[in-house]
Symmetry: C3
């Protein structure tokens, strides 16, 4: 795994660049990401490019033996461009422009911006694609950050109408597919249709779903515009840095446009942002949730078809959480090694030196504004030492026998109509992931187009618009299949299947969901169904439910290799069910202590301790009869990372 | 009592209509409401009417022996109309239009929309008023839903100025009445006056009050436009479906425009929406609050001058609550019978078949999208069987000897200046209602113009602008009168009476409220006044307070038949006071177990159990020495409904 | 100390004025504030002044022996002016005007409004500056109330660009100072710069800081426009009524434009508004927080360079809190005497008579709408009787030997980047103030330009942009200096000092803050650092931390007379540290019971009891061996005020 760092030469005097490069090299870093916010320096005035400083910066880094990941600077169009083309600005639901003065202030639909994107990307690619040190390109930066996937601007409205016309051809087909007869929402022409925003009450769900698909497609085509230019100029490899906890566009499709994926991993910031309760946030305040980074490593490995890395790794306190604590000693090393264990080929820290100015001045880096090393440098060294113990782990395929099916459209459908405010589909997915990981299982996260036949156990937390061909492919895989609530509950146009949920799943599991209910905290489905909360389905069938005494009457249903869960199970109930199915699937499980996770890469198993019990890893070793290869390396205070060979 | 159902033939293939009609008939339904959202089908393009489908639908239902309630489709003007007349759209406080894409997107003040309303209502009335099966018309649908009574659009602004000119004639009269000298808010012309919206801080309270009166009047005149057309064409009877928990326009005045009132009863959805704390919401999650439906039955019976029904009855889980649980077994039957007990002549379920598409696809119906019966059908049969035990109950007048005075202007005044965030006037009214109902008393809810002489006990939770003539009429009634806090505290123009509160009440109860205070939770008026929370008045008089040891010093004051409560009493304290006064008024009371309510209709008394104690109704029977006439009918799990003859 | 009252003759019939004046005089009042909202009566139509009523009102009051504080009426421009010049309206972040219909609806930057301000102030000053009874003028009213310091209107945008050009001269200097290279935020011309509002994510912090400075400067220049006119016409003295809990413009600079400062003290309303938790708000619901009024007295005494008063004193329940309880008996007297103890020369109640109309009709006054006295009149008499016991206290200088440095820019910096949602800089300042006051110490609140040499102990809760010359001046003072977290953490342009925090402080206290963290409730820095919450700094030095066992390892650092606290200490830990330093500084401390505070004026010490323990003052007396001079005066229920001579 290469170590890297994000660097902004434009922030520092040129005189410092060579020394910075030498220190990076000395720290064992080999890749430096630059350029992704530098438009105002590359083109200070309309059409007047200043390549000199960037040439020098790249050459200086290259001279020190470093490779370059060069970012296109499109996340931050400069002020002169916005003033010349105000239509570039993205707009809020009411159609009001969001203003210049931070970043990501463009609409993906802006035709003017696509022109200027073409121009700046072409100019950069023409100049640097052949540079021997530029081994990787990054398109833009964190597409969608700050809620920018949706924009109600004039270009977006026009493009949406065209997108609908392309999809439905005739307006009657749209009216029929959506069911616009309801509340007299029928349209006579595609040009009558606006984005489903700023309506008096909830807009039409099918309208919303197509809008979200359209917005996602705009991001995809915008990225494709960039990748095509870069490839045409001979770019060696292209990536984009995705985010954690972000699902507003289809990532698997963008993955297909890239050579490898990368993501930005901020375990403590993400913990603050996510849905966990205060107690959980206190407990893991300095470590992050034990499954959050792992989930995203597995997801982006899947999105990247096996090739992925971390482009931005949190090195210390960040600036953007509600609270920004310092990581516990050893955690930055743990996160770094964990990325490797999950298959990463790149781990790049954000950022080289903490900037003393502007929005992110309180974001830590590998070095401080006074050029001294921050704590993260020793963490980096610790990570390197640990990885040295696992030499030869190689870039073997994941080897996971369990898979979790993750689908962006599924999330959008449930977000559009949650039917109960505690039905959080992203949380549901993580809950299923945790149920696997608590048992020491390696997991691949796959799309609905994934190679089901590679797995012995497949979890589908929820796939509302499951199709019959997918049912057939799942069946053909021979794997144990666990399907969560609301699977099969919708058609692809966000209507209820005519024969009721679970729709096509009935072909293999003949049950009928006749009604559903959402439950406020503290309300249970009934006195005898204590393992279900939040969501419960009423199911009819001409056979009996699965182990009613254990999981609650009429909640879990099973036939052959298909098991369906008609409710939101409590974590322990779900873990029990998953262990049962894993055993049926022939997978070895181990019950891990709180906060401990395992991941195999090649012949090594990596054990990580996010918890507070210093003896937890030792217990796991004894349980497994394993012998550490990293015995002499310990982090301070809590025993956090161990490695053993299989 | 007729049973009915809401039906949308335009949602289903014509081939299904006859079968649907036959099944409705077989279920004992006799009235079908249709048409209220069908504008885009009735007039698919400007001026081109398509009556064919509606003719067929009506005839098909009529042929099955069903009567029709036909709705005017004005709640959902189609897209082509909005595009042709964008001024129809209602606007938010900032004057920004609310967009097409759901429903109720029109302003009541729009002159263009009044023209089109006239046109579509005339066309429908001309075609169907004479149809023998069309026995009832519904104007529009749920006026005001989704916060649409207020609209800051240009037509509204113009109309508001005219309304003010009509009321005050001279601008000086307005300045004097409001007290605009305060903060230099004086006007020189009516045309200078805007709606009291988007101001820097709180707008003038008198300005707000007149704006709310104006907005209410716009709803009333809009409805009158429709009823006048319908009557001119010979409509047999006209209703409108009011909502629960909605008080933004004057309902008694609209009742006078109608032949009967109806309302839409969603006990579980309303519980989620209302002010109760989490514990109460958990406790009644599957039943609804025991007084919420009853309160509204009594209110709309009053609004309808004795004639009312339920136009939409919740049949199972709905889609619009924060949480949407399934009703407990028996509750849909209970709600249905309860409507009858309170005097309803119609109980119509929403809706016949759950729609598999659009915004309400997760709202249950009597049947499911696959045509099977939902649980609600058996609940309907249970309700019918129960009512069969009470045959002969007839449509006798209410017979209640206790009344609760409910006034919309009173709510608006307290909402405009609550003076403490826990002073919720709607909650106050329900609290007084509960105090009566806990003691088994039947209640009429009456307006300030009501026939006070019919009652022995009248509760006035709060009537800030009480007039001297009302005091005289209350006194003439000979009833015990209980008046709640802030009664008499304002003039009709929302100023403090020159001689201090309780204003005209002093004529019969010579006290003076010298000061008031609002209290955060946990703060009490003083160590010895533990039965008061939220609100307390300081009162001076030359006689002693009423039973100071019992209700707290100086809080309750009494002279002759008038009792005044200068604070927000705790529920138990209020119940004790009400029982005391009921006894003085010669009414028999019975202390009911938690969740149990009684209601008499004709010679029958109906007992309802919203609680969790299966033995509660049995206890009440024993306490009353009653004998059930419905002994053989029991709902599952909990004993919820019993009927006995007097 | 003069007693006064706020009066609105325009609200009442002229016939009442003489009687009102006589009653004021009889109550011992000597100053009456009038006029500050009366523009629509002074100039009912454009250019047509009506002086008659105001002449009469002033003469009537003067004839009764009362002096006048005359307010310029600019807080409430009348409707005709807004209609003629709509550009006067202030705008929200999106640039949308805030509407007429309450008050403070003007932008400080509006050129049109500055013209009209000049006109009306000139007219008033010309007419009344020479009037013998008009001894004091008040400019406008509560600058900034209702969030009106910022306005994104066209005049403000133009003025901001000019302000920036004046400050930076060249655009490159601005780019360099702010660090706009970050995220390509560079500007080519000053005219490209907008207010930092409505951006996609957080705007640039240096941009925000200059915007806040600019907005503050606009308030200052607007006030100077008024004071210059008043002085040119010979006004005898000028004040402005500042608010509590308000820090959006620089008050010390405005103080320099005035002859004396005044502020509006609403202890119960402020308690509701502020940051305290529910338990604290319940505990002090009827008294206010024991340090809130005291803090502001000391602050505005500093702002007024020794001359200050209370222009509006809460007399009973107000109308604008979330909850509005009545003050406990004796509290209005306590607040009045406390103002005197802290050095006030004026205590004026708001208002003479409760208005029965408009927005503030629920705000109590000295008299009620029916002309009877409210409870406040007896409180006033009690205050006067108490002050009579302390005759001869005089207007001696404060005499405090401890000072607290308060800086507006410091608050803005921390508000712009709190780095943790519980880092409330205003709360931090009050916490440091409390730590002094719990020990019975008198405090002066001073600006960074203050006379440090007057004090033996100086607390600097946080001064991020501390300069080297300030360090030198602090050192030269010879006082013990306690500096709180984040002192020295920024340059004046809101960047991190190149040599890391605490920046220039290193000259006297050679430590280095290498990293910081913010902590959610319940998360502590480490198992051994239990006295720190919310905020913690990691500090390196080549010497040992101060008493690590007592205050937590590495949190408190000391060298010579400088002590630095690198964290948010718990209240008790901070109090302990302050007591320690006070002792080192040679100050006598006394540990006061909860809710008790002392203040010396001249030869008298005043003891105030905000708590619930009736014996608390008696305990303090015994502890101090003092003898009351006010022994015979007691408030009801709780022993709240005592005075003793030194």
């Amino acid at each position: 795994m290469k170590f890297g760092v994000c660097y902004y030469p434009e922030h520092w005097p040129e005189a410092k660049w060579a020394e910075d490069a030498a220190r990076m090299k000395a720290l064992g870093l080999s890749l430096v990401r630059i350029g992704e916010f530098a438009w105002s320096r590359i083109e200070p005035s309309p059409g007047q490019y200043d390549w000199g400083w960037l040439d020098t910066a790249i050459d200086t880094l290259a001279s020190a033996g470093l490779s370059i990941c060069l970012g296109t600077p499109t996340a931050t169009p400069p002020k002169w461009l916005i003033d010349a083309e105000p239509g570039i600005l993205g707009c809020d639901a009411q159609g009001r422009p969001r203003r210049f003065g931070s970043r990501r202030h463009y609409s993906f639909s802006s035709l003017a911006y696509r022109d200027h994107t073409h121009r700046i990307c072409t100019a950069m690619a023409a100049r640097y694609a052949d540079h021997p040190a530029v081994t990787l390109w990054q398109t833009d930066n964190e597409y969608g950050c700050h809620d920018t996937v949706e924009s109600n601007d004039p270009d977006a409205r026009t493009a949406f109408r065209l997108w609908l016309r392309n999809k439905y051809d005739r307006i009657d087909a749209l009216n029929e597919a959506w069911g616009t007869v309801f509340w007299s929402q029928e349209y006579r022409h595609f040009d009558e249709i606006d984005p489903p925003l700023a309506t008096v009450t909830e807009p039409h769900p099918s309208h919303q779903l197509d809008w979200r698909r359209f917005c996602s497609d705009q991001v995809l085509s915008y990225n494709a515009l960039q990748t095509e230019i870069l490839r045409a100029h001979g770019a060696r490899a292209i990536t984009h840095n995705f985010m954690g906890h972000f699902t507003q566009f289809e990532h698997f499709q963008m993955g297909a446009q890239l050579d490898l994926t990368s993501w930005d991993s901020y375990p403590l910031g993400f913990l603050e942002q996510a849905w966990w309760d205060d107690e959980t946030k206190r407990h893991y305040a300095r470590c992050g949730h034990p499954d959050f980074a792992g989930f995203h490593h597995d997801l982006y490995r899947g999105v990247g078809q096996g090739r992925f890395g971390v482009m931005e790794q949190q090195p210390g306190p960040v600036n953007w959480g509600r609270y920004n604590p310092a990581p516990a000693p050893g955690m930055v090393a743990l996160w770094s090694v964990e990325a490797f264990a999950h298959g990463a080929d790149l781990l790049s820290y954000f950022r080289w030196r903490q900037a003393p100015f502007a929005q992110e001045q309180m974001h830590s880096g590998l070095t401080r504004p006074d050029d001294t090393e921050s704590e993260a440098c020793n963490e980096l060294r610790l990570a390197q030492a640990l990885l040295a113990c696992a030499e030869g782990a190689g870039s073997a395929p994941s080897g996971a026998r369990a898979a979790l099916l993750f689908d962006y459209t599924a999330l959008w459908m449930h977000e559009i109509q949650p039917q109960g405010q505690s039905f959080n589909p992203a949380e549901l997915c993580l809950t299923y992931y945790t149920a696997l990981r608590r048992h020491g299982l390696d997991v691949d996260i796959i799309s609905r187009d994934g190679a089901f036949e590679l797995y012995d156990l497949i979890l589908v937390p929820s796939l509302p618009d499951l199709t019959l061909s997918e049912v057939t492919r799942l069946q053909a895989s021979g794997a144990e299949i666990l399907l969560g609530p609301r699977t099969g509950s919708k058609t692809s146009e966000m209507t209820i299947p005519p024969d009721l949920p679970p729709g096509p799943l009935k072909a293999v599991l003949p049950i009928r969901v006749t009604s559903v209910e959402s439950l406020r905290p503290g309300v249970t489905p009934g006195p005898d169904i204590g393992v279900v909360e939040r969501w419960r389905e009423f199911i009819q069938a001409d056979f009996a439910a699965y182990e009613p005494g254990l999981y609650g009457a009429d909640i879990v249903w099973r036939r052959d290799l298909f098991t369906y869960v008609g409710g939101w199970l409590t974590p322990d109930a779900l873990a029990g069910l998953v262990q049962d199915l894993a055993t049926r699937a022939g997978l070895d499980t181990v019950s891990l202590p709180e906060g401990v996770r395992l991941r195999r890469r090649g012949q090594f198993v990596f054990a990580f301790n996010y918890g507070r019990d210093d003896a937890a890893l030792q217990q796991v070793m004894e349980r497994l009869g394993a012998r550490w290869v990293s015995d002499t390396l310990q982090t301070k205070e809590i025993d956090r990372i161990r490695i053993f060979a299989v």
